[in-house]
């Protein structure tokens, strides 16, 4: 069974920011934010037609500045946040804002795709997530599975919890947490945990990973020296509440059980340069995607520490005689392994994301603006499903 060839889409500008449209569960859609200092930056909305293997794109202008991070509302398809750099008077300021896509972007793109490239519509600014005292926002996180009213921004050494009001046109800081310690501490990335009623946040700064309780805004655990070098990214296992994955400049991907912060549960050393992004598959948490500046994307199958360590559990009643043989195959212990290494990129891959609509599909974005959409190999897919 041949796997479908990867679909490649090239952007004109360099890009780092990639996200799936979280609220969209039907269409396979990714958002890419560009980085250009000279031209107006854009947000490319990339629709992937799974049936025909065709990409449809829509470009929206993001004139505020080059985009470093992008996030979409889990409730409203049209609402997104960006972290961007503004340059004014030879000063570079990084800000964050909530935006709304123009209401007719979807219809417009279908009617005249060429038109949209040449005369792109602009995003509608809903509000800035700016506080006078805090700047340099590294990323903005939406409350997972929330109603799109709460976002979290990580700025320097502060974590700010914002309440969005009046259809997201007003944002007020409801609580803050501050990272304290020697030197200039700075959050590099973070994840809002979907577990525990969305009351936990996990952040990375330098080589440490910290967990925060959002109700009290206090630190609940800390993995010191999680990585030998800077921790670049982390992700929380969607099915196992205490498990998370992290990656960093030591070329390693580590899996942690936060109840034991001394030792990682598992360590992968498949990349030959810094690992910039790690993502659990939303439904099958054994599938882990990692992107690295060695220009590679690696899909790993971490069965042993997933929520389904023995494969998909089939009820006895569902078993028919014909499936007996198949059941025998399943009983073989599944081993952790690298499923596939994707080498379609020529430059450092800074971001990789699973589609929110199709759990077997993912996109990766390299610095040179190349977006590659890949699928989980069918053999593996069927093994997980059956």
């Amino acid at each position: 069974m041949e796997d479908d060839a990867p679909v490649i889409y090239g952007l004109e500008f360099q890009a780092r920011a990639l996200t799936a449209q979280t609220a969209e569960t039907d269409a396979i859609r990714f958002l890419v934010g560009t980085q250009s200092l000279k031209f107006d930056n854009q947000i490319h909305i990339i629709d992937f037609d799974d049936e025909n293997n065709i990409i449809n794109k829509t470009v929206l202008l993001h004139q505020a500045g080059e985009i470093w991070h992008i996030g979409t509302s889990p409730a409203d398809k049209a609402v997104l946040t960006t972290c961007f750099n503004k340059t004014s008077d030879s000063r570079v300021v990084s800000c964050a804002a909530v935006w709304r896509m123009p209401s007719d972007w979807e219809t417009g793109s279908h009617e005249s795709p060429d038109d949209s490239v040449h005369n792109p519509q602009s995003l509608e600014l809903l509000c800035h997530l700016d506080d006078r005292t805090h700047s340099n926002t590294a990323c903005v996180l939406w409350e997972p599975m929330g109603d799109g009213k709460r976002v979290m921004s990580l700025a320097d050494n502060h974590a700010l919890l914002w309440d969005l009001q009046e259809s997201s046109t007003q944002a007020t800081v409801s609580s803050t947490a501050t990272l304290e310690g020697k030197g200039q501490l700075k959050f590099t990335s973070g994840k809002w945990s979907p577990h525990h009623n969305c009351s936990q946040l996990t952040t990375a700064n330098d080589t440490a990973i910290r967990g925060w309780d959002l109700r009290t805004m206090t630190q609940i655990y800390c993995i010191e020296n999680a990585h030998g070098q800077l921790v670049r990214d982390l992700d929380i296992n969607p099915n196992r509440q205490y498990y998370l994955a992290s990656c960093g400049d030591d070329c390693k991907v580590k899996f942690w059980d936060v109840r034991n912060v001394q030792e990682p549960v598992k360590t992968l050393e498949d990349h030959s340069h810094w690992v910039w992004s790690v993502r659990y598959n939303h439904s099958h948490d054994q599938l882990v995607l990692t992107a690295s500046s060695d220009s590679r994307l690696i899909l790993s199958n971490m069965v042993s520490i997933s929520s389904e360590p023995f494969g998909h559990l089939v009820d006895d009643e569902e078993l028919s005689e014909g499936e007996d043989n198949h059941q025998e195959d399943n009983k073989e212990p599944l081993k952790d392994s690298v499923v596939s290494t994707y080498e379609e990129h020529e430059d450092s891959v800074y971001a990789a994301e699973w589609s929110s609509a199709d759990p077997w599909l993912f996109a990766s974005l390299s610095y040179d603006g190349r977006l590659v959409i890949n699928r989980v190999p069918r053999a593996l897919k069927y093994r997980i499903l059956l």
């Binding site: 000063r91 080589t207 030959s272």
Partner: protein, 836 residues
Amino acid sequence: MDDEAGGSVAVAGDGDPSRRRRVHGMLKLYYGMNEEGKAEEQPESLDPCDINGPHFDPELFLNKLRRECSLAELMDQETCMVKQIRSLDSDMQTLVYENYNKFISATDTIRKMKNDFKKMEDEMDCLSANMAAITEFSASISGTLQDQHAQITKLSGVHTLLRKLQFLFELPARLNKCLELQAYAQAVRSHRRARCVLQQYSHLPSFKGIQDDCHAIMDKLAQELRQKFRDGGSSAKDLSECVELLLQLDEPAEELCDKFLSHARSRLESDLQGLEAEIRPYPSTLAVKDVTARSLSPAAAPGSPSGTSPKTSAVPSPSSNTDILEFIDRGCNEFVSSLCLVITSYQELFINHAQKGELASKNIPQMANGKLHTFVDDLAARYFSLVERRIQEEKGVADNSLLVRALDRFHRRLQAVAKLLPGSAVPNQGTGIVIRAATERVKQYLAALQSFYMDSLTDVRQALATPRLSVASASVAGGGSLLGGAASGRDAPNSLPELLSSLSASILNQIKSVLASVHLFTAKDITFSNKPYFKGDFCSQGVRESLVVSFIKFVCQSSRQFCESAGDKGGSTPPALLLLLSRLCLDYETSTISYILTLTDEQFLAQHHSPVTPVTSLCAEAREAAQKLLNHYVKVQGLIISQMLRKSVETRDWVNTIEPRNVRAVMKRVVEDTTSIDVQVGLLYEEGVRKAHSSDSSKRTFSVYSSSRQQARYAASYTPSAPMDTNLLSNIHKLFSERIDIFSSVEFNKVSVMTGIIKISLKTFLECVRLRTFGRYGLQQIQVDCHYLQMYLWRFVSDENLVHFLLDEIVGSSAHRCLDPSPMEQSVIEVICERG
């Protein structure tokens, strides 16, 4: 006359022997004595025409002649015949004369004999008459003496009886006297002689009295003997005499065995207690002694070969009372020898002796033997447990010969027991102890080797940590330190190759000395060395596998641990040590391992029954360790430089920077560090292959990169009309250049190592640049820095295009990240770089 006749015949015969024979023959024929002539005469005799044959028929002969011969022949025949007849006649006459003479002399002789016999007969008659007279006399004498003889016989019988009776009557007194004189043996002998008689006549009251008396006395005697036996103060000889006597007195043998053994046991146990006393004090005063030993040890340490590490000297022979040889000696001399004595005398008494005597019938030997075995086993077990305890305390590895000698003695002395007691398990147990001790010793050696190795590494670490001042100060420091070990004892080696060679030499020496020590176990003059264990398993499993192979594995493993433990933040292991160890492991892979193993196999000519770890797998392991260490070295060094570059990029405000006038100090630092790393690696690793350089690599490549293509790239990215070109160009470029693995495995040569380090550093530089935004002068500064790096770094790497490509990327990326990208003139850059 006889003689004369014979003589004449002889004379006559001498003249013509053939004739004489014929005459004899014919005479013989005549007298019918033809024994010897029979066979030859038989054929002729049958011929009737043979004139000399017995069946001669004259008629036939004449007829034959007449038929066959002519007249002349007949005439001849006739004359011949007449001649023969004539000679025969004369012969006959001669013979008749001769025989006549003989007959006359014979007649004379017979007549003379007749006279003589007559005389003799008379004398014989006289003799017989005399004899008859003598017989008569003798009969009369014996008749008279008959009565007296009978009387004398009777009297002598009475005398003997009386003497016996006297003996019996005197017996009690005699026994008493013997008792007084302690001549027990005599008493018993006497009593034995009288016992049967007394028993037989016990129905007579007088004998009964004597018997009772004797019994009483003998009981007393037995009592006394038993007392003596029980007291045990007497010598073994006395004791055995005692036992012998008691046995003769029908004492139950079993009881005697028990008594004998219990008596022996008490003496042996006192020996054992003496031995135990030497061990016991140690554990209670362990702490104190250890301290004293520690304080005393350094002086004693140098005695051990090749200056073992301080560890070994810190653990001297644990009990300061006696060393193990002394202990074993004492055990052998006291316990084992008295045990042997006991066994011998016991066997003499109860087994050999009993076999001869009447006791054999009572199954005493078997019973006695069984008792002896349990007794010996029991005591030997206690002895062994003591010995084992003592051996276990023997932890210091300083002098193995002592232990080996002690074990040898121990084993040798047990052979005596084995000879005395063939079926005993004692020698096997003893061998078991020796084997255990040997294995234990091997383990200790392994531990000692490992700790020596770790200590050596610590020394190396210190040597690396101390700044290379001067040889003088270093040697002073080395002498001052108490290590006294591998490195600092000699002139403190302060360069890597020297450190490496001294490290590997000292390890090798240590291994050799350990092998030599262990080899003592298999020396020819050691009794247990010909046991199958020491010939086979000890060599292959013990020494080769669990000592040498384990140590090599340990070296590899500990090396690997350096890579792992240093994973977090890197700083714990100095990079130079990593490099050194990597080279060490590589050396091990190439030569040392096979050398050590060959050495081992030569020294321990084991018949390898069991599979052993092959050299190749060890080499593979060493190589893997070397690779890992070198990779880790590259990573650590790369990270150190990366850290500098990263800090320099991250902490600067690149938008508002002044126009570059100099190369930034950090770049100079990077080049300096790279150069020193290059020197460091060059000390231990070969140069390696690199792609050919052009005559002026730095300038040529740089000019290409900054003028033609780079300009094109800038141009492309500035032109708003063609934004795609940037991607196109860079992608095309990347299509044709190979993908670079940054943290990849390196080869075992300098160039590869340097390439690895530079790759890591420049890639970090690139990624950091991409995260920043640059102003006009920021870009120019990067240009200057990159040019500077280009000028110096190309020489270190295998493929200068690599440096070129990465620097190209850096400048390209910073141009992209630049708000006002106006690059600096190439000539200006060159001037600045040259000046810096």
